[in-house]
C-alpha cells in the first residue's frame, strides 16, 4: 500500500499544479452550478415578487383594501390609472391589475359586506399567477372585514346604520322592533365599553366571529427541489467528476507517451499497484471535489442535504464509478489527442442524456428512458436522492449498485486492455 499511496500522492500533487486541470475539476463545475442556479432562481435566493397595478381609488375602503394587499411580501403594487394598468399588463410589464369597485354604502353592512367587487385584469394564459393572485386578494379582503368587526367604532357605525334600516323596514311588528332596538342598544352599550386595543387582543374570541382566515406553516411533504441550487449543484458534482476522470485518464496516457510509465513499470511494484495508485488518486480527488462543492452549496446557497449518510454514499459510489470510467477512457487511444477527443466526446454524450445538462426532472419521457443507459443519470439520481428526492436507503440501493458495477467493469476492462496493449 505504501507504493500505491506514493503514486496517488504524486498524482494529486500533479493535479494541484495543473491549473488547466484544476479549472475543469473545480472552477468549471462551480461556474455551471452558479450560472444555471442563478438563471433558474431568477437572480437570487430572495422571494420572487409579482408586479401588479392597483387602480387608483381614494375611497377609505379601497385604501384599506390596498393596505391589506401591501402587507403581502409577494406583491409589488403600483397605483395607476385603469388605462395605464391595462396597457402595462397587455405589454407584459405587469402581471395583473386590480380594481376595487365599492358597493353602495347604504346597501353594504357588516352583515352583508360582499357587495364590493374586485376586478382583476390578467392574461388568461397566466393561470398559475391568476390562481395565486386570487388567493392573495381573498386573504386581503377578508382581513379587511375582520378588522371592521373587531374595531368597536366601526362596529357601532354599522349597528346604527342597521337600526335605521330596521325602523324603515316593513313586516316587523312594533313589538318586534322594540325587542330588536333593546338588543341593539345593549350591544351598543357593551361595544362602547370596549376599547379598540382590548378588542384587537380579544379578536380570537369575537362572538361575531368574522372569517377567521389564517395560514399555518406546514412542512412541504411533496417531493421536489426546494430551490434551483438543489438541481444545479448535483449537476456541478457530475461535471467535477467528469473533469477528474478526463484529467486522470489523460495523465495515464501522458505517463505512457512521456516514458514515465516505463520507469514505473521498472520499479519493484506490480502493474496493478500502478493502476491502483492512479485509481486512488482519481477517487480521492473526486471525493474531495464533490465534498467541497457540496459544502459550498450548503453553506452559501442553503442546499439542504436530506441525509448526510446517503450523500456520502452517493459521492463515494459516484467517485468509484468514475475511476472505472477513467480507466476505460485512458485506453481509448495511445496518444493524448485521441484520448482527450474521444474521452470528452463520450463523457459529454453521456452527460447530455444523463442529466448533466438538462435536469432529469425536465426531460421528456423518451430521453428519460434513454438516460438509463448513462452512468451520469445514476450519479445525479443518487445525489438528488440524498438532497431532495427523499430517498431512503432502500431507494438508494439501485443507483449505488449500478455505479459500483460500472466502476468495477470499467476498471477491469481498462486494465485488461492496458495490459494487452503493452505486450
Amino acid at each position: 500500500m505504501h507504493a500505491v499511496f506514493t503514486l496517488a500522492l504524486k498524482d494529486i500533487l500533479q493535479l494541484w499544479r495543473n491549473k488547466f486541470g484544476l479549472f475543469w475539476v473545480i472552477a468549471f463545475p462551480l461556474l455551471m452550478a452558479l450560472f444555471f442556479g442563478s438563471i433558474f432562481s431568477g437572480g437570487g435566493s430572495a422571494v420572487r415578487t409579482m408586479k401588479i397595478a392597483f387602480i387608483e381609488n381614494q375611497s377609505s375602503d379601497a385604501q384599506a383594501f390596498l393596505a391589506e394587499l401591501q402587507r403581502s411580501e409577494v406583491l409589488d403594487i403600483r397605483p395607476m390609472s385603469l388605462d395605464s394598468a391595462r396597457a402595462s399588463v397587455a405589454r407584459g410589464r405587469l402581471t395583473a391589475y386590480i380594481q376595487f369597485i365599492q358597493a353602495d354604502a347604504r346597501q353594504a353592512s357588516v352583515w352583508s359586506p360582499s357587495k364590493d367587487s374586485i376586478q382583476v385584469g390578467i392574461d388568461p394564459s397566466r393561470k398559475a399567477e391568476a390562481g395565486y393572485l386570487q388567493g392573495l386578494i381573498s386573504q386581503a379582503y377578508f382581513a379587511r372585514i375582520s378588522r371592521k368587526f373587531t374595531d368597536p367604532q366601526e362596529f357601532r357605525k354599522e349597528m346604527n346604520r342597521s337600526l335605521e334600516s330596521m325602523d324603515s323596514a316593513y313586516g316587523l311588528s312594533a313589538e318586534q322592533k322594540g325587542l330588536l332596538r333593546g338588543a341593539f342598544t345593549q350591544l351598543d352599550t357593551f361595544m362602547s365599553s370596549v376599547n379598540a386595543a382590548d378588542s384587537a387582543s380579544a379578536h380570537a374570541g369575537n362572538p361575531f366571529g368574522s372569517l377567521n382566515l389564517s395560514f399555518t406553516d406546514v412542512a412541504n411533504v411533496t417531493v421536489g427541489p426546494r430551490s434551483s441550487w438543489e438541481i444545479t449543484f448535483p449537476q456541478s458534482l457530475l461535471w467535477a467528476l467528469i473533469g477528474c476522470a478526463a484529467t486522470f485518464a489523460l495523465s495515464i496516457v501522458m505517463e505512457r507517451t512521456h516514458g514515465t510509465y516505463l520507469r514505473l513499470r521498472l520499479a519493484p511494484i506490480s502493474r496493478l499497484q500502478i493502476l491502483a495508485g492512479k485509481g486512488l488518486a482519481c477517487f480521492l480527488s473526486c471525493v474531495f471535489v464533490c465534498t467541497t462543492l457540496m459544502a459550498f452549496g450548503a453553506i452559501v446557497f442553503h442546499v439542504k442535504i436530506s441525509s448526510v449518510v446517503l450523500m456520502s454514499l452517493a459521492i463515494i459510489s459516484a467517485a468509484f464509478c468514475f475511476v472505472g470510467m477513467m480507466m476505460l477512457i485512458s485506453v481509448l487511444g495511445k496518444s493524448e489527442r485521441t484520448v482527450m477527443g474521444s474521452g470528452w466526446s463520450i463523457l459529454l454524450i453521456f452527460s447530455m442524456i444523463g442529466g448533466g445538462m438538462v435536469p432529469l426532472m425536465f426531460m421528456p419521457p423518451w430521453i428519460a428512458s434513454l438516460s438509463n443507459l448513462s452512468p451520469m443519470k445514476w450519479c445525479v439520481l443518487a445525489f438528488e436522492g440524498a438532497i431532495w428526492r427523499g430517498f431512503a436507503f432502500a431507494d438508494m440501493i439501485l443507483p449505488l449498485a449500478i455505479l459500483w458495477s460500472i466502476g468495477f467493469v470499467g476498471f477491469f476492462i481498462g486494465t485488461i486492455v492496458l495490459i494487452k496493449s503493452e505486450s
Binding site: K10, L264, P268
Partner: protein, 296 residues
C-alpha cells in the same frame, strides 16, 4: 551480475531481437552499439522485465529474474525518452522514485542528496523540471535511475540531445559508477561514446549481435588497416623505394601495423615535417561488418 542467454523477441513478422547473448560483470561498462532500430532498446526492455521475451532468458545476480520485485530493486534504468515529471521539482522526482523503491526516512534523504549532487542539481532542487535545460533534464533522468543505489545500471542513449558540457558530466558519472563496482549496460549509436566508455562492446544490427569484444579487439578484427600520412622535408631527397605513394612531398601509405611501418621509414634517416595516423574506429568496424554506416 547480468547474463543474457539467447534472448529473442518478435513483433508480428519483424524479428526485433534474435538470439542475443552476453554477460556483464560488476565494474564493467558494456556497450550495445548499433543504429536506431537495431534492437538495443528492445533488449534493454527485456532485461528489465518490461517486455516478455519470446525466447531465451535473463539472469541477474546469479539466477534472479527481472520480473521478481526483489531483483528489480538492484536495477536502475535511464530510458531513452526522459522519464521524469516536468511539473514536479527535481527533489520531488527523486523522492518519488526513491519511495517507489522502498526508501524512507534518513536513507531516502541521503540518497536524494547524493543523486542531486551527482546530477549537479543541488542548487536547483526546488525548481520545476519543465524549466530545466535539456542537459539538466538528462542528468536528472540519470539520477532518478540511481537514487535507489542499484548494482546494475542500464542507460539507453543517455546523451541524446544534450550539450557537450552535460555530455562530459554524464561520462564522468558513468566512470564513477564503474569505479564504484556497478555493472553498466550502455546503449548508443555514437561510436565515440562506446569507444571512450565501454570495456566491451557488442555490435548489434537487425536484432543480432554481429561481434562482441573489447574496442581494440573489435578494431583489430574488423577495422582494417590504418592510413598513414607523412610530410617529408621538401628540400631533402626522397628515396623512390619507399612503401606507399608520394604526392608532392607527402608520403601516403596503408598498414595494419602502423607503428612498425613508421619506425622502419624513420630508420632510413628521413626527416618528418609532420605525421598523421588515421586509426580505424568502431564506425569502420560497423561499416565492415554491415556494409552500412552507423548513422545511415
Amino acid at each position: 551480475m547480468l547474463t543474457v542467454k539467447n534472448l529473442s523477441k518478435r513483433f508480428g513478422s519483424l524479428t526485433a531481437v534474435d538470439s542475443v547473448s552476453f554477460r556483464v560483470q560488476p565494474g564493467e561498462v558494456f556497450g550495445l552499439l548499433g543504429p536506431n532500430g537495431a534492437g538495443k532498446s528492445t533488449t534493454i526492455n527485456m532485461i528489465v522485465g518490461v517486455l516478455v521475451p519470446d525466447g531465451g532468458a535473463v539472469e541477474i545476480n546469479s539466477g534472479g529474474s527481472p520480473v521478481d520485485p526483489g531483483v528489480r530493486r538492484n536495477i536502475g534504468n535511464a530510458p531513452q525518452s526522459l522519464a521524469i515529471y516536468g511539473d514536479l521539482t527535481a527533489e520531488e522526482n527523486l523522492r518519488f522514485f526513491g519511495r517507489l523503491y522502498g526508501l524512507t526516512g534518513a536513507r531516502l534523504r541521503e540518497r536524494v542528496d547524493w543523486s542531486l549532487e551527482l546530477a549537479a542539481l543541488t542548487d536547483r532542487k526546488g525548481d520545476r523540471v519543465d524549466v530545466f535545460s535539456g542537459g539538466m533534464q538528462r542528468r536528472l533522468n540519470l539520477a532518478c535511475a540511481l537514487v535507489h543505489d542499484p548494482s546494475l545500471v542500464l542507460l539507453d542513449e543517455p546523451t541524446a540531445g544534450v550539450d557537450p558540457q552535460s555530455r562530459n558530466m554524464i561520462f564522468e558519472k558513468i566512470e564513477l559508477m564503474k569505479s564504484e563496482g556497478r555493472a553498466v549496460v550502455y546503449t548508443t549509436h555514437y561510436m565515440e561514446e562506446a569507444q571512450r566508455l565501454c570495456d566491451r562492446v557488442a555490435i548489434i544490427d537487425h536484432g543480432r549481435i554481429l561481434d562482441l569484444d573489447s574496442v581494440d579487439a573489435l578494431i583489430d578484427r574488423h577495422g582494417g588497416i590504418s592510413n598513414i600520412t607523412i610530410e617529408l622535408d621538401p628540400d631533402a631527397a626522397i628515396p623512390t623505394d619507399l612503401p606507399g605513394r608520394i604526392e608532392d612531398h607527402f608520403l601516403r601509405l596503408e598498414s595494419d601495423r602502423p607503428l612498425e611501418q613508421i619506425a622502419q621509414i624513420s630508420a632510413r634517416g628521413l626527416v618528418f615535417r609532420s605525421l598523421h595516423v588515421e586509426r580505424p574506429d568502431l564506425e569502420r568496424v560497423f561499416l565492415n561488418l554491415t556494409g552500412r554506416r552507423l548513422r545511415d
